[in-house]
């Protein structure tokens, strides 16, 4: 790497000021598990690195009314072990527990993962299924976005070079809702070939009252499988319907072929994992499809 200036702001305001000052010359450093890898590989070489390490208010998980708030600098390990997240955001707890490796999870942060926007990242589809939002701080104040709106393209988010993603906010799922995150990958350290998350509300007689499906790894950005959801909503959830929803989801994705798998394979796995996610979620509610 080329040498850079290492800046250690103590507050969000200070961080934003530094980013405003250095703009495209600066990169934000969270856990370093993506940024430093890319810098070592020469893919990016900022002249200034703004570390968020000392901004305590960015860490931690707490309740706020009917929401769970996760600071952007909270590590994946902390998210995966949090009783608060387990209780009200189980798909995210599962996703966080599958990021990279334990080593990566010890330092890697939720905010960093979201801002890096890697294809096959685990938290984004889980957060989309949970209907979560992110808060972004900039020179003109704060803005709140749905997680789905955060992603613009391959490794690209709408976070500007003078902004900092400060926290993730997860609204409480409806009473009785169940959810999972499943990761299809050949080696556990890899990104997801398919990441499938669902949040499911079942009524009497297996009626699907509502459902949210998040998919990762199968398009340039994580996405919400709205057509597959529409095929499920208001219907009795059966194995056949889950499979049909998986089939619909196949038409909503645009995976690429690379060393880890062909586009055709990934597309077929979308169907498998959407069905599996629905099946496992339903099992949590006591229904065997």
């Amino acid at each position: 790497m080329r040498d850079f200036e290492y800046l250690e702001p103590r507050t969000i305001k200070e961080a934003v000021q530094l980013l405003q000052q250095y703009r495209d010359e600066a990169k934000v450093l969270a856990g370093g598990q993506s940024l430093l890898v890319m810098m070592r590989q020469g893919l990016i070489d900022p002249s200034h690195v703004v570390s968020l390490e000392h901004i305590e208010v960015l860490r931690g998980i707490h309740r706020d009314g009917q929401r769970t708030i996760i600071g952007a600098m909270t590590t994946h390990d902390e998210v995966s072990r949090s009783p608060l997240v387990a209780a009200r955001g189980a798909p995210l707890a599962q996703a966080a527990g599958k990021v990279g490796s334990p080593h990566v999870r010890n330092l890697g942060t939720l905010g960093g993962n979201l801002c890096h926007a890697e294809v096959g990242a685990d938290p984004p589809p889980a957060l989309i299924a949970l209907g979560a939002q992110v808060r972004i701080a900039g020179p003109n104040g704060e803005r709140v976005l749905e997680v789905e709106q955060l992603f613009k393209g391959f490794l690209e988010t709408v976070v500007q070079s003078d902004e900092v993603l400060t926290r993730v906010e997860i609204p409480d799922p409806p009473e009785g809702a169940v959810g999972v995150y499943l990761k299809h990958t050949l080696r556990s350290v890899d990104r997801a070939l398919v990441g499938a998350a669902c949040l499911l509300q079942l009524g009497s007689d297996h009626l699907c009252r509502d459902v949210r499906l998040g998919l990762g790894g199968v398009a340039a950005t994580p996405l919400r499988a709205r057509k597959a959801e529409a095929a499920l909503r208001g219907q009795r959830l059966t194995a056949a319907l889950a499979e049909a929803a998986g089939e619909v989801a196949m038409g909503e994705v645009s995976p690429i072929s690379d060393a880890h798998g062909s586009a055709d394979y990934r597309r077929k796995m979308v169907k498998v994992f959407v069905k599996r996610a629905l099946t496992e979620a339903a099992a949590q509610a006591g229904y065997r499809l």
């Binding site: 040498d3 850079f4 490796s101 334990p102 990566v104 350290v189």
Partner: protein, 155 residues
């Protein structure tokens, strides 16, 4: 521009002058002569560079030395005491849990970090803990057995 940092490595306090771009792995190699941590993949996932940082197993290739300021690092060189193998090292030898040895420092430290927090792990917990340490030689079975044998001895 170099910055002074102080950090503890294997129980000893060191004062170093490092550029911000210096990785912890590089500082260990070039400033401290500790070459046990290996450079394996340049991609942040193989675990050959594993060290224990404030009690957590991390990839030293993905940590800046300046970020380790004020923290405690344990490397494989810090395991043996007075010429005696650490129980994990002895178990690895006994169980044939190494062949080329390249992944071994990382494996040992990951195992130590695990047992320090979870003295009686299940086999699944051991396998999960070392899922970030790739081994090309052994097929992992003897490594898992070695780690479990140390856990069993302590109980």
């Amino acid at each position: 521009m170099k910055t002074p940092i102080e950090l503890k490595v294997n129980g000893e306090l060191f004062k170093l002058e490092v550029e911000p771009r210096r990785l912890l792995l590089e500082a260990l190699h070039d400033d401290l002569g500790l070459t046990g941590a290996r450079r394996g993949c340049d991609d942040g996932f193989c675990g050959a560079c594993t060290v224990i940082l404030d009690g957590k197993a991390v990839h030293s290739c993905s940590v800046l030395a300046v970020a380790a300021r004020g923290k405690e690092v344990i490397t494989v060189e810090g395991l043996a005491r007075n010429g005696q193998y650490h129980p994990l090292q002895a178990a690895f030898v006994e169980h044939g849990a190494l062949q080329c040895g390249y992944c071994t420092p990382g494996m040992l430290l990951t195992a130590k970090a695990l047992l320090d927090k979870n003295p009686q792990p299940t086999e699944l917990e051991v396998r999960t803990a070392i899922s970030g340490n790739l081994c090309r030689c052994t097929g992992y079975k003897q490594i898992v057995q070695a780690i479990l044998s140390v856990a069993r001895k302590k109980s």
